[in-house]
Amino acid sequence: MWKEKHPNNAPKWPAGVRLPIILSVHHQSEEAAAVFADGQLDPFDHSEKQYGGRRGAWRLLEIMAKHGVRGTWLICGATSEKYPQVSREVKKAGHSIAGHTYEHEMMCNLPPEKELELIRKTVSVFENLLGEHLRGWRTCFASHHTMDLLLEHFDFQWDGSMWNDDLPYMGEGHGHEILEIPFASYSDAALAVQITNPFPVNPYVTWLSNTPDFMLQALKTSFDALYERAAQKAVMMPLAVHDFIVGRPSRSKILDEFITYAKQFEGVAFTTHDELAGWWRAYMAD
């Protein structure tokens, strides 16, 4: 069993970095489409989410290019197979690529052998399609085995599946180390829409959604709080967006405006999980 390893000194970021923002794009398109009790994919949810791979991802690439910011693209293996041009463009643009399971499986419902098989399958998709050796992993629905599987069978540098801290922490086990870079609710899924998966299909058939202004305000308020706190102690902002949510025109403006807002503040660094993991390892080695 893996265990946490705690640093001895107070965490800090490199000089000049006051608040790191990890813009994490979930490129999963229709993989997490809702399923009816009879086992059939919900055609509505499936079509709504397909927008992510067909259009939304491209719009997010454009916005990031416009602002000159890099981020981490968390990509499902199956999504990469269905929309390979997107993955290639992500790589070309210099973003980090991380694995986001094969078909957005709920690992917590699967035996460890199956989870291991799916991680291997996803890793090989990126090796074969992009020549990309995955350094990071994130599953929205981790199992009790996830961290041990990653440590025992792979050489991932980091994982982003946990929701339980403000800051990274090191995990060790099976003779390896992996940096956990936890997530939070600074996300379009938390602030903008109700995601049906894995819950039963909503009989009211509305795609429940908050307004763009609501999400933008919530992001700005969260940013302000973190930026203020960052004067005293190290914090980070893991900001998650989805290709099928913020990729829509009306919501894409939230991201555009939030990046513009955050960039005005000194010491704000748009970064990737890979870069941030490097910073953390360097600080821990101090």
Partner: protein, 272 residues
Amino acid sequence: MATETQAKITWPEGVRLPILLTFEHQSGEGAPLFPGDRPNYMVGGAMQYGARRGIWNVLELLDSLKIKTTFFICGTTAERYPDGVQAIHAAGHEIAGMSYSFDRVRTLSPEREQSIIARTSKVLQDTAGVQIRGWRCPDYRVSPNTVDLLAQEGFVWDSSLLNDDLPYLFECAGRNIVEIPFTTSTADKTFIGYPYPQRGGPDGLANVWNNEFEVLYQESQRAARFMILSLQTWAIGRPAPLRMLKLFLEHLLGHEELWFARASEIAASCRR
């Protein structure tokens, strides 16, 4: 089986961004029943508003702005409230089908689904004297056969899917169907529908529509785009949301090179 293929899209000369308002018109057929199939007069009644009042408010607004557009109508609503449906046609709007009685076709046999399409066509023909050529599935849940059946029944276009910024084609046996994808991300009911609480209210509609238009108008400078709105006569037809629609449409009318199109006109701009 229908196979998807790209469409060659040519908007009419001088058009930068077409605007397609789609109104869904039912009278409570779509309200989920309470367990045991007991009636839901709360949601059902709120939806009935569309056929009793909402439609007249919407038609008045469209007439005052001289905008022609497309209405998706349930067969049973045409039977129960024929005046409204006839008024839609008389005002020059396009009539399209949205099933007979909000029938959920996802798991139905092709025979059953075909009979629903045919029955809806007949009711709308009998009510308004038009042969419908366009369709939207209630619930936006197509069956694996929907597009092929529409082609077989002589339809020209469908607007049940939500996966693109632009229309595309389905090649079916014998003829093509133009798919005109829409989105619930800007739909009135997403922000002022059920279940409660409302998420944004009338001002939320202005927020989301202005964002959508601004982004699409900008993108249309360098790529083909169109803007489609999905609206419910039962939701947008109430006075406060309708006023937001009025203000938004007036804002659009101040822009150059917009084209308020019917869905069939959008479909006619898309070729193999």
